[in-house]
Symmetry: C2
Subunit: 334 residues, 2 copies
DNA sequence: CAGACTTAGCGAAACGATTAGCTATGGTGG
DNA sequence: CCACCATAGCTAATCGTTTCGCTAAGTCTG
């Protein structure tokens, strides 16, 4: 690879002049400018970002660490992030922490070492106080999940509202015996969505029957068996709120295996984070995370941090999920 | 951030010694080693990869440029690639050429500038001879699609075999009136798969009837209408080979809207590259690309190139798709 | 005990860019 | 006609590492 010195020699100018031409940072006479550009083309010179970044102290790299790349939800997030990052003139370095806190820690350390200008992190686990101690100087935006006490900016989604919106939709259709297949209660996405549903029902003086709220662990197979079980009871719910798309697929399959039709026999509403349910008929009625918006926002916040355009106090943004109506819900009519 | 000089000063040794300790590249007496390590911990020193890479002339970065990040197929590819790259001790820089040759070119130029040690590229468009001229020195593996005359290594999949395998499976079930919804004929994935099917049928002295081979443009909605049309005819096929998963979803929906059952009335086999059909029932019988294997292989080939472990002649690997049997095909029995 | 070997650790020169500060040139005003 | 000024372009320091070549102290050998 040609260096700036080769170009300087070929154009019979100094490296400073070449630099000035390349970066358009000082006036260079048309004549020299032309010579330099010719030499650049001739030698196929392309400035080394490594050297430039060493000197400038920035890397033009933004890191994204997601919790589980195999999950289509994060895949979509990655796609949005790539576009946003490129739009700001950075490049995206991608990491997968695979839900392992220890790996996340190593990734952060690598991000720091690589000299990335900032990081967007979908944090895993709960107890990563080390972020505060060791990585406080790395501009960071936490995406999807807030960690209390963490000094980073956060962009999250209102899970409570997701459950509430789905619940209200079912209630408005006249359902009163509403069940739910939830996520694990120890994670905020699992807990918040159920609480939203309960809140919506409580506002109308209702509550689910015992046994009509069960955890499907955010997994398709678990949801399948929970659904079979719950819907096999004589007093089965007329509508279900299912806390993610994966589980909705499992529940749908269970219904169809039991000879129950959706939406005629059972209405299903869900909060679809994964969008793996694209090919499913009937299409799910669901609340969706505004992934693209959230990602764009996270990156804007990050770039502002990097550019020091912003006060030190961490900012916390909460996005509202949107209700998308499919064909999986019907008014109660019997 | 602390530098190696700060550490050296704190430990009262030279920077060379610190470097030796950090990289374990020369013997250092236990005593000094301990002092250095203490200083490192004390100052939270983390060597700057930027500086190291400038000096070493490598970046520990591998670039991946895919043709369309929004496509779940590439999302899966990205996930595999991240894992493989991390396994080799590199980090992954991700780009999306969005099917635009001009953008791909800019991306390659950026990859070079960033100093990436190598690149895995899913090439878009056909006429990118510039790769040979301008980027011949960048170790590259082309993934998914070969470009004739390109000096890069390639890892591709045997589309002909995909069509042949699916065809033979249907033929073995006794089907003779087999139709196909194909991709566009101008791209190798579209053309190859159909040719494979035709070959399998020809080997048994069969050929599709006119009107039983139509293009669905690799799009769900186009496939829906093509399927409705084709299956509305009196002499409709008893089995369909559908050239990708997206179109299979559309065709399934068409069948169900027409009151035709799968597999009882029509058998469907597909080549599923996108795996968006995960939630579908019946599960598709399909040939699948061994994405993970292909990606792993591409990265191994790339790393070998980077390490110069390999002769100059480009290597071309062709993977075989695998037939995955679902419930969407039945023996012909009427 | 002197000379030849080892070897732990050091000093300083790279790597390839940016950029502060300087030089030399030519134009202008008094 | 001289002093001065503006400014195009150059020289060299710098960013934080790695690493080559060297020094000096210690160990052997005859």
């Amino acid at each position: 690879m040609a260096t700036i010195r080769d170009v300087a020699k070929a154009a019979r100018v100094s490296t400073a002049t070449v630099s000035a031409v390349v970066n358009d940072t000082a006036f260079v006479s048309p004549e020299l400018r032309a010579r330099v550009q010719a030499a650049i083309r001739e030698l196929r010179y392309s400035p080394s970002l490594v050297a430039r970044n060493l000197r400038r102290g920035r890397s033009q790299l933004i890191a994204l660490a997601v919790a589980d790349l195999a999950n289509p939800f994060y895949a979509r997030l990655v796609a949005s992030a790539e576009a946003a990052v490129a739009g700001w003139g950075y490049s995206l370095v991608l990491f997968n922490s695979d839900e392992k806190p220890e790996l996340e820690r190593r990734i952060l350390s690598r991000i720091r070492t690589l000299g990335c200008d900032g990081a967007v992190v979908v944090p895993v686990g709960a107890a990563n106080q080390y972020r505060q101690r060791e990585f406080a100087d790395l501009p960071t935006v936490l995406l999807g999940r807030a960690l209390e006490g963490d000094p980073a900016d956060t962009v999250t989604v209102d899970n409570l509202s997701a459950g509430r919106q789905a619940g209200n939709f079912l209630l408005d259709l006249g359902h009163t015996r509403i069940g739910s297949i939830t996520g694990p209660m120890q994670v905020s996405t699992g807990k918040g969505r159920l609480e939203g549903l309960l809140e919506a029902m409580a506002a109308r003086g209702l509550a689910p029957q015992p046994g009509h709220v069960r955890s499907g662990e955010f997994r398709e197979d678990a949801a399948y068996s929970v659904a079979r079980d719950m819907m096999g009871q004589p007093d089965r719910p007329t509508a279900l709120y299912i806390a993610n798309g994966m589980m909705a697929i499992g529940a749908m399959r269970a219904l169809s295996d039991m000879g129950l039709r959706c939406p005629e026999d059972v209405s299903i509403a869900s909060t679809d984070t994964i969008s793996g349910a694209g090919g499913m008929r009937p299409r799910l009625t669901r609340t969706e995370h505004p992934v693209a918006d959230m990602t764009d926002t996270a990156l804007r916040m990050l770039v502002e941090r990097i550019d020091n355009k912003v006060s030190d106090a961490p900012r916390h943004l909460v996005f509202q999920p949107a209700l998308v109506v499919g064909e999986s819900c019907a008014p109660i009519s019997r």
